[in-house]
Amino acid sequence: MSGHRPKLLAISSGGGHWIQLLRLRPAFEGCAVTYATVREGYRQDLEPGSDFRLIPDSNRWSKIRLLRTALAVTHLLLRLRPDVVITTGAAPGYFALRIGKWLGARVVWIDSIANAEELSLSGLKAGSFSDLWLTQWPHLARDGGPQCFGSVL
C-alpha cells in the first residue's frame, strides 16, 4: 500500500451533523478528501481549495426529496469512486454509505452525539452493513452493536 493515498468521501447533512464532521478532519490527513453537504455557505468552513460538493438536502419525511438526494449521492459516488465513505448522518450520509458499500467502498457511520439515549433510526439501519459502526456515547456501545472510540467533544 506504499504511496497509496486513500480517496475519502466525508458527507453529512447540515447543522450539528456538519459541525461534527468538521471536527473529525485530523483523521483524514493523508487522504484525498471530498466533502459533501447541503448548504453552499458551509464551503467557507473548509481550507480554500478543498474539494467541496453540494447535494440536495432531505429527511425521511419527504419521499421526493429523499429520491433527489439519493440520485445526487449516487452520481457523486460513481464519479468519485472513493475507497472510504464517512458520515455523521443523517439522510444523505445514509444513502452514501448504502450505495458506497454497494460500489465497493469501506463505509463508516458515526452516530451524532445528539443521540445520547438511543441510536438514530438511520444509525440503527446503517449498522447492518457498515464496516465501522460508531456511537459517541460509551453507554450505547455493545457487542454486536456500535463501538465507541470517543466523541467530537
Binding site: 483523521a27 472510504v84 467533544l153
Partner: protein, 161 residues
C-alpha cells in the same frame, strides 16, 4: 449581549415567549434573537428570522451568553468559543421536533457539566432571573477526542483484505 437562537429555520415560540417577557419586564435591551420562520414574533427584543453564516458568527462572537434549543451544532459552537450556553430541549410531544432526542442530548450534556439546561418554561424563567449562577463551560479544542481520531485513522489506513 445575550444571543438567542433557535438554530434552524423552524420556530421555537415556547422558549422565545419566556425570554421576550423577561426582557420586557427587566427593560433589558441587550438581547438579540434569531427566531426561525413562521412563528410568533417577539415584542421586547430585536430579532431576525434567519441569519447568514457571517452574520450568525458576528452575533455569536459578540455574545457573552447563548440561549438556544438543545441542538448539538449550537452547543458545540458555544463550547468551542468557551461561552456559557443555556439550552431548552425542543419536545416532539409538543410538535416542536420529530423525536425526543433533544431531551436526551440535554440530559447527557448536562451530566458532563458543560451546558445549562432548562427543561420547561418555569425553569427557563428561573434561570434568566439568576443569570449569575449559570455554569461557564470548559472550552473544547478544535477537534474530536484523540481516541476517536486515532481509531478512525487506523480504520482508514488499514484496509482489510
Amino acid at each position: 449581549m445575550i444571543f438567542v437562537t433557535v438554530g434552524t429555520d423552524l420556530p421555537f415560540d415556547r422558549m422565545l415567549r419566556v425570554i421576550d417577557q423577561w426582557a420586557g419586564e427587566n427593560r433589558c435591551d441587550d438581547v438579540f434573537a434569531q427566531i426561525g420562520e413562521g412563528g410568533w414574533e417577539p415584542r421586547h427584543m430585536p430579532y431576525r428570522h434567519f441569519l447568514q453564516p457571517p452574520e450568525f458568527r458576528e452575533k455569536f462572537d459578540a455574545a457573552d451568553l447563548i440561549i438556544s434549543h438543545a441542538g448539538m451544532g449550537t452547543i458545540l459552537t458555544a463550547l468551542h468559543a468557551g461561552k456559557p450556553i443555556l439550552v431548552m430541549p425542543k419536545r416532539a410531544s409538543l410538535g416542536e421536533h420529530r423525536n425526543e432526542h433533544q431531551l436526551a442530548t440535554a440530559r447527557h450534556m448536562m451530566q458532563l457539566r458543560n451546558v445549562n439546561v432548562a427543561f420547561d418554561e418555569t425553569e427557563l424563567r428561573e434561570m434568566l432571573d439568576h443569570l449569575g449562577e449559570l455554569m461557564v463551560p470548559q472550552t473544547i479544542g478544535d477537534h474530536a477526542s484523540d481516541s476517536l481520531i486515532q481509531g478512525l485513522r487506523e480504520f482508514i489506513f488499514t484496509p482489510q483484505v
